[in-house]
């Protein structure tokens, strides 16, 4: 017997181990390829950036080249499209440039480019790269060169690394006289970038311009923010040109970096490019399919439950919490040793509590039980046959629920919704069982059974009502397999139940 037990246990343990390994892999896979989260983050932001390009044709063949962002660690592209009538579009993957060509045109041209991004994360972008050529020295007259050198000197008193120091000096409040003299009266981002680049070149640090957007909703037409990238210690590091802070700001999308211009228009003049940024929200799970596609994993996704219609998904989500609830019940019965009315009655009660809310549900349960039991006791005087009697209890329970609902509504006490969620038949059976136990085994046993059932129901309730646990059990449904084997292993548990430790205490030899 022991040998057989050991082998059953052995097999189950191995299966449990395998299922854990499988679940671990499944979780890893879903997190890294489908972007599943451990927390029930229900929505994800989708950013839509629209570029509106307009120009006047000069009468020559038109060629528009626009630098576009590429999917990176920082964000993923959900959708990308161009509205440009009469243009041939092509994409230069290498340089991530969108190229539009057309025969000569006459009227003012409007081209729209739209890109939807999701999963933006702050990468504090540091990009490894080969060393660029030494920077070209700026062409300064002697006076300006001297002024520039003075600035570099002054900059050393600022905080941060060489690049930050220069940027901070130029943005100091108030500006030092030497700096004020150096800067033009009216400065733009573009001018600032040029000045910084020149100063860095003078210091021998290669640098380049980067353009992008901070993802903040603004429907206004706006122009991209400029940043500066400097090549330091083998990395391109990016700096904010206002604060000198290193790294990509949160939610910043780089459109273009390095030498290329943002847009080149051949066969047109007075070209203007305006951007707008729009935020929309979608369910995080919805994006999973798209993420899977980006990783070339769409087949796996297609055959997963997450690709089902939402209604089915919701049902499955509700179902996938049950194995855990069952585990709780098995633990309560076989390890703790609580005897309940019916094996799964507590689980059904717990489900109702989830629908009704905890306190209103308990209150409702108590009222239904008390009224139901009283009525049942009155009824036992009539000596009705079993089936008609239970049926009568069912009808009484329905009446109680109606009563509670009306009272709840009148008192504006929100048990109105609660009462109706209790499974009528289950409640009637609990009442019937309780009253028989009461008559046969006494009030004590009856109350104990009810209380134990409630305890198990409440424990189950706390497991299945947690948004967090629900999410985990659904998103990582392979955990259910683990639970299956745990439950089966518990089926071979031959140790004492917790309650027995107390019950058999008198047997301990002192």
């Amino acid at each position: 017997m022991l040998k057989k037990l050991a082998s059953v246990r052995g097999i189950l343990s191995i299966l449990l181990l395998l299922s854990i390994v499988y679940a671990a892999y499944g979780i890893y896979y879903k997190v890294s390829y489908w972007g599943f989260h451990f927390t029930p983050r229900q929505s994800a932001n989708i950013w839509t950036i629209e570029a509106h390009i307009s120009f006047e044709p000069t009468g020559e063949p038109i060629k528009v080249a626009l630098t576009t962002p590429r999917s990176s660690d920082a964000f993923k592209i959900l959708e990308e499209n161009v509205v440009a009538e009469g243009y041939k579009t092509s994409k230069n993957k290498e340089e991530s440039r969108l190229v539009l060509t057309s025969a000569p045109k006459v009227d003012k041209q409007d081209i729209y480019y739209k890109i939807m991004l999701f999963d933006n994360i702050d990468t504090r972008g540091k990009i490894k790269a080969d060393a660029p050529k030494a920077p070209k020295q700026p062409i300064f007259d002697e006076q300006r060169l001297a002024a520039a050198k003075q600035l570099l000197q002054l900059a050393q008193k600022q905080d941060g690394d060489a690049v930050s120091q220069i940027i901070r000096l130029l943005n100091e409040e108030p500006l030092q006289p030497a700096v004020q003299a150096y800067l033009p009266v009216k400065s733009t981002q573009q001018i600032m970038v040029e000045i910084i680049t020149d100063l860095l070149s003078l210091k021998g640090i290669p640098s380049r311009t980067a353009r992008g957007f901070r993802l903040e909703e603004s429907k206004k037409a706006l122009s991209p923010d400029l940043m500066i990238e400097a090549y330091i210690d083998g990395l391109w590091k990016i700096y904010d040109i206002k604060t000198g802070k290193k790294g990509l700001p949160d939610n910043f999308v780089l459109f273009q970096r390095g030498g290329q211009s943002l847009i080149d228009v051949e066969g047109g003049e007075n070209s203007v490019i305006k951007f707008s940024v729009l935020k929309s929200i979608t369910s995080s799970m919805k994006l999973a399919g798209r993420r899977a596609e980006l990783f070339d994993q769409q087949r796996n996704f297609q055959y997963s439950i997450y690709n089902l219609p939402l209604a089915q998904q919701n049902t499955l989500k509700w179902l996938s919490i049950f194995p855990l609830a069952i585990l709780v019940i098995v633990l309560m019965r076989n390890v703790i040793g609580l005897q309940t009315m019916g094996t799964f009655t507590p689980m059904l009660l717990a489900m109702s509590l989830v629908k009704t809310g905890f306190w209103p549900g308990l209150l409702c349960f108590a009222i239904i039980m008390v009224l139901g039991l009283s009525i049942r006791f009155l009824m036992s005087k009539f000596n009705l046959l079993l089936v008609p009697r239970i049926s009568a209890v069912v009808i009484f329970v329905i009446l109680i629920m109606q009563f509670l609902t009306v009272i709840g509504y009148q008192l504006e006490f929100n048990i109105a919704q609660s009462a109706v969620f209790f499974p009528i038949i289950i409640m009637s059976w609990i009442i019937e069982r309780a009253s028989i136990t009461w008559e046969e085994d006494g009030a004590l046993n009856a109350c104990r059974e009810i209380v134990f059932s409630l305890i198990v129901a409440i424990a189950t309730y706390f497991v299945i009502s947690s948004e967090y646990i629900r999410h985990i059990m659904f998103a990582f449904n392979e955990l259910n397999l683990v639970i299956l084997f745990i439950v089966m292993l518990l089926g071979t548990y031959t140790g004492y139940r917790l309650m027995e430790l107390k019950r058999f205490r008198p047997l301990v030899k002192s």
Binding site: L5, D441, N445, L507, K509
Partner: protein
Amino acid sequence: MFEWVKSFASPRQLSQAGVLGMNRRNFDVISKYNPRRLYPLVDDKVKTKELANKIGINTPHLIGKIEYQHEAKNILELIGNRHEFVIKPAQGSGGKGVLVIRDYRDGVFTTASGRTIGYHEVYQHISNILSGLYSLGGKYDTAIIEELVHFSDIFKDYSYQGVPDVRVIVYKGYPALAMTRLPTKASGGRANLHQGAIGVGLDIRTGRALRGVCRDMPVTRQPDTGADLMKIEVPFWREHLMIGALAYEMTGLGYLGADIVLDAERGPMMLELNARPGLAIQIANGIGLVECLREIDNHYPEGLSAPQRVDFVLNKRAK
């Protein structure tokens, strides 16, 4: 708080005391020695009775049985001119649905507790039994009408109203542990421990009291009558054990509990058999079952007849 924690034993202490837990009983004993297909033999009291009669175990005579609702009205015909009888469900348990009529005259039924009821209530009761009110899972059931057992006076002082019985645990045909269950006021005259009856462990070789428990706590006196429980000595002890030993032959169940009552004229009679007897008997005896079962496994001979096995137990030297 600390006191409360101390009221728990450690699993280790229990296993040292040889206590059999519920999980272990189900997994190691019942699932191994009691094949499911044998359950119907003991779950249905009509079948048990037929088998018992065949093998020569005394049981209360079957007056009749009622299987269908439309037969319920035949109850008076079945009873004939008897004045006392018992109506109970064939598949009941825990004493549920047992109606003891100690006097029936002129259409008036007097129950064991002295309440008088009419034909209509008796009919009702049978109807409830048939519709499965007292059977496990609410299955349709059969009502048994059997002779009333005239309990011997021996236990009179030890029990309140109801009827004491003797439960013998039989392992591989060997009586292993025994106790008598004494109804109390608290148990409503029923002989069920979880309802508050007293359990008194009996020495398996002599039938003498070892110690008593009530609601899992030690007792030495009957709370209602004040009688000294330790004076109990069950007569016809060998006959009691014989019923247990024969029950093994009769059912093939390697682990069973036999409920035996002592009739004043006919001696020990088997009321029912149980394929999943409870574990409280350990507390009543102050003896863990693991120990007993292991000893039987290791030291008791196989292949003996029922009387030989009983004699083997009776002649065993006291520890």
